[in-house]
């Protein structure tokens, strides 16, 4: 892939992101015009439209952060598991977060979103550590295939626990269902600020690791001979991916397909060099998530469809395309 094309794509996607961000603030069950947007951003005027805009700004900002995080996280997970259809939740992050949230709702009567965040985040991190620990048993350490298997097995076990707690209790089911569909509508400034350090740490760590991940992609033996500590790099990349996906899931609930689709599409366009793939997956993830969120708001107006539903509707055909694609290979 020529570098010029990569930069071209970068510029195009940046422009797209600016456009969808503006649309995300302007459109919804009540649409506003550009003038109101400027008033809301740069003046102290007050009106109903301006407060609508002000409420949409954190949602949009969180959409950008969450989309970028899922894109990058998917990229990292596909890289460390050498699995082209890995998504950010491959280490059991989503089911771990679900279990903690459902336990919180059922046994500790927790009902406020800011408490869900911590439950979800803790559940995601602890589950990822557990999965990584299981995969590390044995002499060769956490190999790609062991990681994927341990993640799948743990997810299934935890999901059955989630169902055991949730199904007999319709009240728990109702509260949990709201969290589980995946929505960025509930994002408030204070929640974003709480999670912001984890987003930043995760993104910086990913970009720092891009050279090492490129080298690791040549296989563990060659990577070791080139001076990579493959266990350490894989663990650090998994940690960054878990932070990013865990922080997103904690606030928004599980959002499917973004982390799976975006890195895959970017890899088709520009190849597998992580220096380009990571930032472009971040951009692509933001665009997709915001776009899906806008569609959900517009087609169901005046109510809204959660973004997780839209990404799944968009994602399923893409997934089938990927699976059917003859050229699919392991990484």
């Amino acid at each position: 892939m020529r570098k010029k094309n990569v930069y071209f794509l970068f510029v195009i996607l940046s422009l797209c992101l600016i456009v969808v961000s503006a649309l995300s603030i302007l459109y919804g069950s009540k649409s506003v015009d550009m003038e109101t947007l400027f008033d809301a951003l740069f003046t102290n005027k007050e009106s109903f439209s301006i407060s609508v805009v002000q409420a949409r700004i954190p949602r949009t900002l969180f959409g950008i952060l969450a989309g970028a995080s899922l894109g990058v996280s998917g990229c990292l997970m596909q890289s460390i598991t050498r699995n082209p259809i890995a998504d950010p939740s491959i280490l059991g992050i989503n089911t771990g977060a679900s279990l903690f949230v459902v336990v919180g709702i059922a046994f500790f009567s927790i009902s406020s979103p800011s408490q869900y965040i911590w439950l979800g985040f803790t559940g995601a991190i602890l589950t990822a550590i557990l999965v990584y620990g299981i995969a590390s048993v044995g002499q060769s350490g956490a190999t790609p295939i062991k990681l994927a298997l341990a993640g799948a097995a743990t997810s299934m076990a935890l999901m059955s626990l989630v169902n055991t707690i949730m199904l007999p209790n319709s009240q728990v089911m109702d509260s949990f269902r709201f969290w589980q569909t995946g929505s960025i509508g509930g994002a408030k400034w204070n929640m974003i600020l709480v999670l912001l350090p984890y987003f930043i740490l995760g993104l910086l760590l990913s970009f720092y690791l891009s050279s090492s991940l490129n080298t690791l992609a040549l296989g563990d033996e060659l990577a070791t001979s080139l001076g990579i500590n493959s266990k350490k790099v894989r663990a650090m990349a998994a940690f960054a991916g878990v932070l990013l996906c865990g922080a997103t899931t904690a606030l928004a609930g599980p959002i499917a397909f973004v982390g799976l689709m975006v890195p895959h599409i970017m890899r088709l366009l520009i190849g597998s060099n992580m220096h380009y793939l990571l930032p472009l997956s971040a951009l692509g993830g933001s665009i997709l998530l915001l776009g899906a969120d806008i569609i959900g708001r517009v087609i169901a107006s005046p109510a809204e469809l959660e973004v997780g539903i839209i990404t799944a509707i968009l994602g399923a055909p893409v997934f089938i395309y990927i699976v059917r694609k003859v050229k699919i290979r392991s990484l």
Binding site: M1, R82, Q139, F207, Y208, S211, S212, N214, T215, A217, L218, G219, E221, L222, T224, S225, L226, G227, I228, N229, R267, I270, G271, S272, N273, R329, L331
Partner: protein
Amino acid sequence: MTDCLYAEHLSSGYGNHTIVKDVDLVLPEHKISVIIGSNGCGKSTLLKTLCKLVLPSNGAVYLNNKDIHKYPSKALAKNLGLMPQSPIVPEGITVADLVARGRFPYRQPLKGMSKEDYQIVSEAMDMMGISDLADRCVDELSGGQRQRVWLALALAQDTDILLLDEPTTFLDISYQIEILDLLTELNQKKGTTIAMVLHDINLSARYADYIFAISNGKLLAHGTPEEIINEEIIREVYGLNSKIIKDPITQRPMIIPIGKCK
């Protein structure tokens, strides 16, 4: 001073299963050494233990009198390189990008390639005769061309010692000769110490300055091809009756297997 790699009382294996047993060896500097032995005798494991891929269970491997496990990993990677048997080609990567990854031990995180890096990468591609393939995708290349790309990567890594795990597997006879000729050229031009595992005894005898014969995890014999390739050692290493004649081209020993032929 150039780099000297040697092993003392080296044992290693996987889990509780010891494969390499109490091997002492010194790689002759600036020479081409070949490790031979039957399938499963431990020659690949020995090679991998020599470059940190397998942990020794006993004894140690030393580079310039220092245990290789005590080197920082990037520092070791500047002195000791390995070309594995089946490295992975990342999807959609070009030849030039792949060769450039050999510069990893010399690069700082988050920094691009320096002028010197580009220079070394292009020299490596020149020497392997793949400069005109620089912008091609590695997926599209033939097996022989691919192997030259991996060699160029090893060359870009710029180490004094290069280990290779069966570099000629899966190649037809003309590519096998081509790769071994390139390695000989590398050895002669840059004085690189080369050690590799080969299956073909005749090619080993032809290209090696020095041969290590492994049997059942132990170093059975070592010496020049003339000292090692004889009917007795071949019988001990491979359990095969054979007749040794002189290669009419190089005058090196050459094996004619007998097997069940009368």
